[in-house]
């Protein structure tokens, strides 16, 4: 089986290399790909949408329909993982582990006994091998606000510099995942429970599709932001630029919530109690 696989793949590779015989020269400016449709984007992206970053202009305006379905793909992945792995039944209350910080002694309490949560020098841990990581916890507490600030910058500055909804949303999600890694899944769930993350991802995608439907209701074609000019009180070109910004915020919200939801579900294999 192994040799048959290698032979088939090498044959397919040779065929593909033969297929590149008639390719245009690599990187030559006169190739059909760079002389037919793309020069229009390069020359007209500022007069049409006043967005210097052409990739963001194409992504959210000229081919905004693709990006809407791309956000739907991210949303579908989040819902699919929750649908596949989520375990609803509350199994019996298992033993709980506590560590006495000054002495490092771990205490196991059986049959759902509980300690007062407020005690300062007793800390709840998921399993015996969890190290006492004061440095990681305080380090992350310092770094996370700046990561989130940078994520907001990436979303807002998508018009002028590389970045935009997807990258900003993922970085914001990564900040929350870092928090869940530094502490444990339970404390991260107090700040952003799985229910809020699903509702946030639905609102994010609804913002995107809703803006498109709003343009439809205002009479223009679907996702034609210049129809928002009357609503936003600006001329059609800046209305397109604002439309792109609204859509990027929707994408960022959806991507952030889905990445956090994916991490919660996969790291705890659906039980949402013990993460990494």
């Amino acid at each position: 089986m192994k040799t048959f696989g290698i032979i088939a793949v090498v044959l397919c590779g040779a065929l593909l290399i033969y297929g590149t015989v008639d390719f245009p020269e690599w990187g030559d400016p006169a190739s059909p790909a760079s002389t037919y449709v793309s020069p229009y984007y390069i020359e007209h992206s500022i007069p049409d949408t006043s967005v210097p970053n052409i990739v963001t202009a194409i992504l959210a305006d000229y081919r905004g329909y693709d990006t809407m379905f791309e956000t739907a793909v991210v949303f579908a992945a989040g819902i699919a993982c929750i649908f596949l792995l989520r375990i609803e039944k509350r199994d019996s209350p298992r033993s709980r582990l506590y560590r006495h910080i000054p002495t490092g002694v771990t205490i196991r309490i059986e049959q759902g006994g509980r300690l007062p949560e407020g005690s300062r020098d007793l800390e709840r841990i998921d399993s015996v091998w969890v190290p006492y990581d004061l440095i990681i916890k305080t380090g992350c507490r310092l770094v996370i606000p700046f990561i989130q600030l940078f994520a907001l910058y990436v979303i807002a500055h998508g018009h002028h510099s590389p970045g935009g909804g997807f990258q900003g949303g993922v970085i914001f999600g990564a900040a929350i995942i870092l928090y869940a890694l530094a502490y444990d899944l339970r404390t991260a769930q107090t700040h952003l429970p799985i229910r809020t993350s699903v509702l946030l991802s639905s609102t994010g995608v609804l913002i995107y599709a809703g803006t498109g439907a709003l343009c439809l209701l205002l009479g223009a074609n679907f996702l034609n932001y210049s129809a928002l000019a009357g609503l936003l009180g600006v001329d059609p070109v800046t209305a397109r630029s604002h439309g792109i910004l609204i859509v990027e915020i929707g994408v960022a919200l959806a991507v952030m919530a889905v990445m956090v939801g994916l991490y919660y579900i996969i790291s705890s294999a659906g039980r949402l109690d013990e993460g990494l």
Binding site: G27, N53, V55, T56, P162, G163, G164, F166, Q167, V170, I171, G173, A174, I177, L181, M259, L262, Y263, I266, S267, S268, A269, G275, L276
Partner: protein, 81 residues
């Protein structure tokens, strides 16, 4: 495009790709795959695709590595081939 730099990165990509498939320990494979994604992001940055490189760095090298390690934590680290 300084083609020497690009050539080195291509070699690194191919080695980390093959390494990610060859190494027996799955956690090592996950880390090598994250290195592969990061090298890919560098190659695209050199080729001028800055938006794609940014996305690959944050989505490819970032989140997919966390998902990989979380999945390996929930399954097993040993693999036979």
């Amino acid at each position: 495009m300084i083609w020497q730099l690009e050539f080195i990165i291509l070699i690194l990509i191919i080695f980390s790709g093959i390494g990610a498939l060859m190494v027996k320990d799955l956690l090592g494979a996950g880390i090598l795959f994250s290195a592969y994604s990061f090298m890919m992001c560098l190659l695209w940055a050199i080729m001028g695709a800055v938006d794609v490189a940014f996305t690959e760095a944050s989505v490819g090298a970032g989140v997919s590595t966390v998902l990989f390690v979380a999945a390996i934590f929930r399954t097993t680290r040993r693999s036979k081939d």
